[in-house]
């Protein structure tokens, strides 16, 4: 190990947003690892204040171009809680359908274009397409039909325009919905094949005693609602989020870090956490496929997040197909409501994990205050802990700095971090303390 005080290696590409990693060494051992997020703050909670509450789903969508539906869903559910709105079962199903579309486009993108290249030492999905043309083309098609679903239900794929407090501006056209059915029949099969391909990848041997946190619902795989559960036995309604989790502000990041309130420990959100808590509620094809590809019941290897992501891709296609087959365009598009003073919160499962929103509104229908806790800020502490453990063992095994930089990048990418709003130039900085 050389002992330069500071080495900068540009690394973390193929993530959504910009961050960096600082690795501090003391006497040849890793003392501390920090994930730095350089994302320029855009101050959404501040800019929402005083605006008509109806704008919230349109505005918060702009926090993330990859998972705008998650922001729309958490915001409308939180506002509906504040206003005492009960949506109809039909609106509820359509929201799940829209969420399926987002899981599909986001998961298919991450699996094929962002993450898979790591397992073959390729620089990009486009480069990987030279070696696996059929697999990458299939992945692009899988992504495309998720986006087409968002077009039909949401009006467009990025920043959909059809979501509103109380439901939708209008119900999707039945013919357009029916035209998606053959593509989604293909999608269940194609996603299954993609999962079988991904399961053959070679996964680093690394496991941690995570506290997995996700939503859980008795009747369905969690998306729009459920209780918050954890692998240490926590089981709480979303309204008790603040009693159990807290955000801390650290100097090296413009994203707040969330930790367990009492223990001040990290926790793990995302596909692996969801599958661990809700495996028996996966769709039939996804459930049997999980057994077939041998995903352990209590898998603690973060590199296998990509397998969990594939299984959720199968699930989302299969559930969407069932909703599409059942669809007719009768019924109301949205529930009417009246303004009242109040506050409400909600959590939904964004592709990367729990997204918590809370709003206070006034009698004139304006936002008084808002609070948004995205999944990546909750995973951030866990990513740092993983890096410390993984890089330490790799260092002990004699890995070079260049190899460690690659390992570092790959481990961060397993979380599919959405560090949106940044310059995409992530650096590993090495600091040697003496």
């Amino acid at each position: 190990m050389t002992s330069n005080d500071l080495i900068e290696v540009p690394i973390l590409t193929r993530v959504e947003g910009e961050g960096g990693v600082t690795i501090r060494l003391r006497d040849g051992a890793i003392e501390n690892v920090q994930l730095n997020i350089y994302e320029p703050p855009r101050l959404f909670e501040a800019l929402l204040r005083g605006r008509p509450l109806e704008e919230t789903p349109d505005i918060t969508a702009r926090i993330c171009g990859i998972c705008p539906v998650a922001y729309q869903m958490s915001s409308v559910h939180a506002l509906e809680a504040a206003l005492g709105i009960q949506i109809t079962p039909k609106i509820r199903r359509l929201r799940r359908l829209l969420y399926c579309g987002e899981w599909i486009e986001s998961h298919a993108l991450h699996i094929h274009l962002l993450h898979a290249p790591d397992f073959f030492g390729a620089a990009s999905g486009i480069a990987l397409a030279q070696r696996f043309p059929d697999e990458i083309k299939r992945g692009l098609q899988l992504k495309k039909f998720g986006n087409r679903m968002l077009d039909v239900v949401g009006g467009r794929a990025i920043h959909p325009i059809n979501v509103r407090v109380g439901g939708f501006h209008r119900l999707p056209n039945a013919q357009e919905m029916a035209s998606l059915i053959p593509h989604f029949e293909w999608g269940v099969q194609a996603a299954t094949e993609a999962t079988r391909w991904v399961a053959t990848f070679s996964f680093p041997d690394f496991e941690q005693p995570y506290e997995y946190v996700s939503l859980s619902h008795p009747d369905e795989y969690p998306m729009n609602e459920g209780e918050i559960v954890s692998s240490t036995g926590l089981k709480i309604p979303v309204t008790e989020y603040d009693q159990n989790f807290v955000e801390e502000h650290v100097a090296h990041s413009t994203a707040l870090h969330a930790v367990r309130r009492k223990e001040r420990t990290s926790y793990f959100l995302g596909p692996l956490a969801r599958i661990n808590h809700n495996r028996d509620r996966l769709s039939p094809s996804a459930r049997s496929l999980a057994d077939e590809v041998g995903l352990a019941a209590d898998c603690r290897n973060p590199f296998k997040n990509i397998v969990a992501r594939c299984l959720e891709l199968v699930h989302a296609y299969e559930e969407a197909l069932a909703i599409l087959r059942d669809y007719d365009s009768s019924g109301i598009a949205h529930v009417d409501y009246e303004y009242r003073e109040g506050s409400g919160c909600a959590a939904t499962e964004a592709p990367r994990g729990i997204l918590f929103h809370e709003y206070r509104v006034d009698q004139a229908g304006k936002i008084v205050s808002g609070r948004i806790i995205p999944p990546t800020s909750q995973n951030q502490r866990q990513i740092e802990r993983d890096l410390l453990e993984h890089l330490t063992s790799r260092l002990q095994a004699g890995a070079s700095r260049d190899e460690l930089a690659i390992d570092c990048e790959r481990l961060v990418r397993t979380y599919d971090p959405c560090i949106s709003c940044s310059t995409h130039f992530l650096k590993v900085r090495w600091e040697e303390c003496s």
Binding site: E16, E45, L47, P52, I66, G155, I158, E247, C421, T423
Partner: protein, 267 residues
């Protein structure tokens, strides 16, 4: 055969959605890669090559001192610089800070505001460097992006239609919400490109593609006022994703200054 143009993608304060549009061109993506060389696109590739670049796509607005310097380096490295999306072309939704108190805003979001360094404004790329072409939208339309990249690869000047959303509604056969339902809709003054989706989904256009050229926003605002819409409702409509675009900016300022008196006239 001439060499392929070298393409770079750069991000400033934004949501990632506009550059994601390139990856959302699923049917064209691999073919595009045959026409242009992707030299620097961090969201898609770890192979980050240094400049100079033939074409730079710039997403996001300028909100920090560092970014105000970085955009100059991007400009110096790029022959043709194109802004993509409302953040880069007009400052984005984050330009609402231009009307607020930045210190108070930061304090309201972050428990330790001292850790945060940001400018009091969010500004368009063209406020800092020369921009060769601006593609509007929040988000941009990926079909337009693909057309432009093909044009550039062939050495043609890129073009996009400049009419308003209103005309697209007529093409689609969508009934006008302003006329039929008295709903405020920015379609008459908003740049085409989205496909007039909002009116087709039973809601007014909220101007996410920015002002069309020319846009008689003052006249449209008077129409809304004559239909009984209050300043309180119209100001946020004009001040959203393209709040700092000059035509929307001036119209919202005028409303704030004259709003009370014109509402008085109405009654």
């Amino acid at each position: 055969m001439p060499r392929k143009p070298r393409l770079a993608v750069f991000k400033f304060a934004s949501c990632d959605g506009c550059q994601l549009s390139l990856l959302d061109a699923e049917d064209e993506l691999l073919a595009i890669c045959d026409r242009v060389e992707i030299a620097h696109f961090a969201e898609a590739s770890s192979d980050l090559q240094p400049g100079p670049y033939d074409v730079a796509l710039v997403e996001g607005s300028i909100t920090t001192h560092e970014d105000a310097e970085r955009i100059k380096r991007v400009r110096a490295d790029s022959k043709f610089l194109m802004t993509i999306g409302a953040c880069a072309t007009a400052g984005g939704i984050q330009s609402l800070r231009n009307w607020g108190q930045i210190d108070e805003w930061v304090q309201s979001v972050y428990p330790s505001p001292d850790f945060i360094r940001t400018l009091a404004t969010s500004t368009a790329i063209a406020d800092h460097v020369l921009v060769d072409f601006a593609l509007h939208g929040c988000p941009i339309n990926h079909h337009q992006l693909v057309d432009i990249l093909v044009a550039l690869a062939e050495g043609r000047q890129p073009r996009v239609p400049s009419h308003s959303v209103c005309l697209d509604c007529k093409h689609r056969g969508t009934v006008c919400h302003v006329v039929a339902r008295g709903i405020p809709c920015l379609g008459p003054v908003t740049q085409s490109g989205c496909g007039a989706i909002c009116p087709a989904y039973d809601r007014g256009c909220y101007g996410c593609f920015g002002p069309s050229q020319p846009a008689n926003t003052a006249s449209l605002v008077s129409q809304f006022q004559s239909q009984g819409h209050s300043t309180e409702k119209l100001v946020p409509l004009l001040r959203s994703f393209n709040a700092a675009a000059p035509e929307f900016h001036h119209a919202s300022e005028k409303l704030v200054i004259l709003g009370t008196s014109s509402e008085g006239r109405r009654s």
